[in-house]
């Protein structure tokens, strides 16, 4: 029931998104005016789909990362994975400029995976009694990789490209330039098959193993999904923060952590959040645009503060 409500809400947002933009467009034009049809198919529809795909995938993989890190305040985009993705695509652009796009993608995904594994290795020995150490270490870790990215970009005279990967925005989304996000969408959707096992990881390694879970394989599969999604989003849109942090926390607060049940909601809310933020970014000071990452940064930070201060005793 609630799932249907969410679905209707996101569909409504999608319809709004399709008809908002610099060029006015009415539903009738789309079917009568060939120019309007073209605009719809090459710009508005891809942009809306990109927001939905990225939002859903980021929210899902944020949730998965939080289980793998055993900490609710870790988010791939800010905890090293996002920066590693930027590093990967930067290195690819510098070292193998002529390589086809898919090779650059794979390299970005690989560095993202390495960055995520590095994070887990780094935070595993931290004492579970100090839950705030994990996000602190993650933040510093992300900052370090970010600094390396800046250094490489400065040396390679690529600072202007860097902004594209570090600030997520959707204004550049056109047909033919966003399709990689479908890979992110598929990777995120595939996690549904391991959602039950990931939930069991959340009970602790000992309990998971005693229930017959292969902890290592499930962790690896989860990390792979996190890395693919982060890399694809960073490369196509740029980094979008907070989605993977706020949405899973919201959902967990209301519905718990039984992922096979909650992941559909996580996906819907993530998709809705990014799309709504993009709609805001397009309308606040039209005809100019505010990057979606900036809008989410503001909204997400406020939402997160509210979440933190309403943290129940046992949370």
């Amino acid at each position: 029931m609630r799932l249907w409500l969410g679905l209707v809400g996101v569909l409504l947002l999608a319809v709004i998104s399709l008809f908002i933009g610099v060029i006015p467009l009415s539903p009738r034009d789309v079917f009568t005016d060939p120019e309007a049809t073209r605009l719809m198919l090459t710009s508005r529809l891809p942009r809306t789909l990109a927001a939905l795909l990225a939002g859903a995938a980021l929210a899902i993989t944020g949730q998965i990362m939080q289980v793998l890190a055993r900490n609710r305040f870790v988010e791939p985009m800010t905890a090293g994975a996002g920066q590693s993705a930027a590093l990967g695509v930067l290195l690819a652009t510098l070292l193998i400029p002529g390589a086809p796009v898919w090779i650059k993608m794979c390299l970005a995904a690989a560095t993202t995976l390495a960055g995520s594994v590095g994070l887990l290795v780094l935070i595993r020995p931290l004492p579970p009694t100090q839950p705030l150490l994990v996000p602190l270490v993650a933040l510093i870790y992300g900052g370090l990789i970010g600094a390396a990215v800046n250094f490489v970009a400065y040396q390679g005279d690529m600072m202007q490209y860097l902004q594209v990967w570090l600030t997520g925005e959707l204004s550049g989304v056109l047909k033919g330039r966003y399709e990689l996000l479908w890979i992110a969408g598929v990777a995120a959707a595939a996690t549904w098959f391991i959602a039950g096992r990931i939930t069991l990881l959340n009970l602790g390694d000992d309990v998971a193993r005693s229930l017959g879970i292969n902890v290592r394989n499930v962790t690896a599969a989860g990390l792979l999904a996190v890395s693919v999604v982060t890399a694809m989003v960073v490369v196509t849109l740029g980094a979008i923060p907070f989605v993977g942090l706020v949405v899973p926390n919201l959902v967990s607060r209301r519905m718990g952590d039984n992922l096979p049940r909650t992941l559909p909601f996580t996906a819907l809310i993530g998709a809705g959040l990014v799309l709504a933020a993009d709609i805001c970014g397009r309308t606040i000071r039209a005809p100019f645009e505010v990057p979606v990452a900036a809008v989410i940064g503001v909204v997400g930070a406020v939402l997160f503060l509210i979440l933190l201060y309403r943290e129940p005793r046992h949370g």
């Binding site: 309990v207 229930l211 096979p260």
Partner: protein, 250 residues
């Protein structure tokens, strides 16, 4: 039968277990007791393959620990680890359903639902089924964890200090349940206990450990004596027999 042969274990060069040989036949309640640091929990987690086994062999029925698959063992043996602290926000009913995982592998069927219902009823958790684990009392949470291990429907059930956080009523309730499972459900229960009197009152057999070795093994009446209290626990306490069961006066 769980059979343990020549098991040694050390952590960072420090010997934790030495020359452990022990047979735990099917059925009954076996209590592992001993002072802190005796290696009881380590032994339990070695049997449940939660730590890699170095020297020696452990077999659970036909399964050899270390070479059998986790999934196969999960249908034969369940463990409730010590202070199983769960940070996940799960409802009690959901958590108990997790215990069914070795059987449904992610697709709970009707039968799993029935077993969960039955388990919740048995552990008096039915009214709490929809509450989150972090919203109930420590004792209730502990009971839910045991229920989860029980729902795994294994022949062997290992429990590491399940009476932590439990008051006397809850402790008695849980021990009676375990007793009943051993008597009528033909389960074999191995339980690490701190309170010797609970071991004496409910166990068929008591295995006493000290400094990584088994120092006594037998029926509570034969094992729990003033001499053992003085020798192993370094406690000068009287032991009385009440209803043919030894009671340590603390």
């Amino acid at each position: 039968m769980i059979s343990i042969r020549g098991v040694k274990h050390s952590i960072q060069g420090k010997p934790i277990l030495q020359d452990i040989n022990l047979d735990l036949p099917r059925g009954g309640v076996t209590a592992l007791i001993g002072p802190n640091g005796a290696g009881k929990s380590t032994l339990l987690s070695l049997i449940a393959r939660l730590q890699p086994l170095g020297t020696g062999t452990i077999r659970v029925d036909a399964l050899q620990i270390g070479s059998c698959s986790d999934a196969a063992l999960a249908r034969v043996l369940a463990i409730m680890p010590q202070s199983a602290q769960i940070s996940a926000r799960l409802r009690v009913g959901e958590a108990v359903m997790m215990g069914r995982y070795p059987w449904h592998r992610g697709r709970p069927g009707k039968r799993d639902g029935e077993i969960v219902e039955e388990t919740l009823r048995l552990f008096s958790l039915t009214s709490l089924a929809d509450r989150f684990l972090d919203e109930i009392s420590g004792g209730q949470r502990q009971r839910a964890m045991v229920a989860m291990a029980y729902a795994q429907e294994t022949d062997y059930l290992l429990l590491d200090e399940p009476l932590n956080n439990l008051d006397i009523a809850a402790s008695r309730h849980l021990m009676r349940l375990l007793r009943q499972m051993a008597d009528t459900g033909r389960k074999s229960i191995v339980i690490v206990l701190h309170d010797i009197n609970y071991a004496a009152a409910f166990a068929d057999r008591v295995v006493v450990m000290r400094e990584g070795r088994i120092v006594a093994d037998g029926a509570p009446g034969a094992v729990i004596t003033p001499a053992l209290m003085a020798d192993v626990f370094e406690t000068d306490a009287k032991v009385h027999l009440v209803d043919d069961r030894p009671v340590v006066l603390v």
